[in-house]
Symmetry: C2
Subunit: 204 residues, 2 copies
């Protein structure tokens, strides 16, 4: 019964080849410029073949988004589990990592967090949602640690985590999308946002 396994291995291999080609195009050119035909050409397959391994273009790029989620998840987990020091400092570091991660992978960040609704009209299948939730959950845990340590007032961890996420996402997406706006020095602005958020949840 080694044949079926080999087939499955090959199938997964080709899928990966397609993803590699797609990623290479995507990180350089972004969503619009990454066409099925270009992906197929780079992976040395015909356009039709892509549809044997992915439902449509959206599915290909969603797979790239998943890769990003997993890497973000790892970084956040690393910070969450570093249990030394003030949990508030850890929380702040987590938010900073989130922002820096987004700025390092702007196209990926747009793909996952900024695509307008008409493009994600399909209601975000539960599996991917679980993935996104996992990444977000690290933030919730860090907020809970702060509450337990008495660094911030006790309250609804979901509420506070979502507010913090909004803040971090806000500066990340603004810096990515509105690069024409005359922002003050980027590092100082990020510092100020983090300062505001942390101070904001400390004093209630």
């Amino acid at each position: 019964m080694g044949i079926a396994e080999r087939r499955a291995r090959e199938k997964a291999g080709i899928r990966q080849e397609i993803l590699d080609a797609a990623r290479e195009l995507f990180v350089k050119e972004g969503y619009e410029a990454t066409s099925i035909r270009k992906i197929a050409h780079k992976a040395e397959y015909s356009p039709g073949t892509i549809y044997l391994y992915f439902e449509d273009k959206q599915a290909v790029l969603e797979a790239l988004g998943d890769e990003m989620f997993r890497r973000l998840d790892q970084r956040m987990q690393a910070i969450e589990q570093d249990s030394w020091g003030d949990p508030l400092v850890r929380l702040r570091r987590g938010l900073r990592v989130y922002i820096e991660f987004g700025l390092e992978h702007p196209h990926h960040y747009c793909l996952v967090f900024m695509l307008p609704p008409e493009q994600l009209s399909r209601p975000m299948d539960p599996l991917k949602l679980q993935n996104a939730m996992a990444s977000f959950q690290h933030l919730v845990v860090m907020v809970q640690s702060c509450m337990q340590a008495g660094s911030i007032p006790v309250g609804d961890p979901q509420e506070i985590s979502q507010a913090l996420w909004a803040g971090a996402h806000g500066i990340t997406s603004l810096l990515i999308a509105k690069c024409g706006f005359p922002f003050i020095e980027q590092g100082r602005l990020i510092d100020r946002v983090l300062e505001t958020l942390i101070e904001g949840i400390r004093n209630k």
Copy 2:
């Protein structure tokens, strides 16, 4: 010389007809679904005619974005000039109006604030930038009022205004783009974000 004027009036009229058609499609369907051919058909012109009045599709939709900026500007100005009461309350109301405005016009908000960089690769011509700056400037004035009134510590108004904008933009764009995510009740989340931002700039 009435002829040239009539010609100019007609030209402006047709331009407006095109914009009206584009707006109607855009608010219902969003960026992708609003095609030049659909606009032309709705305005009862041929596709080529659009290009006699606008440089390209991007220019048509940018004009819609300008309309939005002007209306946002009016609302912000109304709040800024209402000089009664605590300036901090006014600032908070301004931020809330910004968020609500975005949620009322999600496609417009995406168009102006969330389009990924590959689509706005042209470096945001200075006139439009001035427009955006005008809207933002109201926020700066409100922050300065707070400083003068002693409601918040004295600091760089640009820095604080940009941080506040990031926060307001964050929750607005998240709620628009990630409508699949299990957010807590929207009103409560917005309140929490505003609370966090205001408390954050008060204490430092």
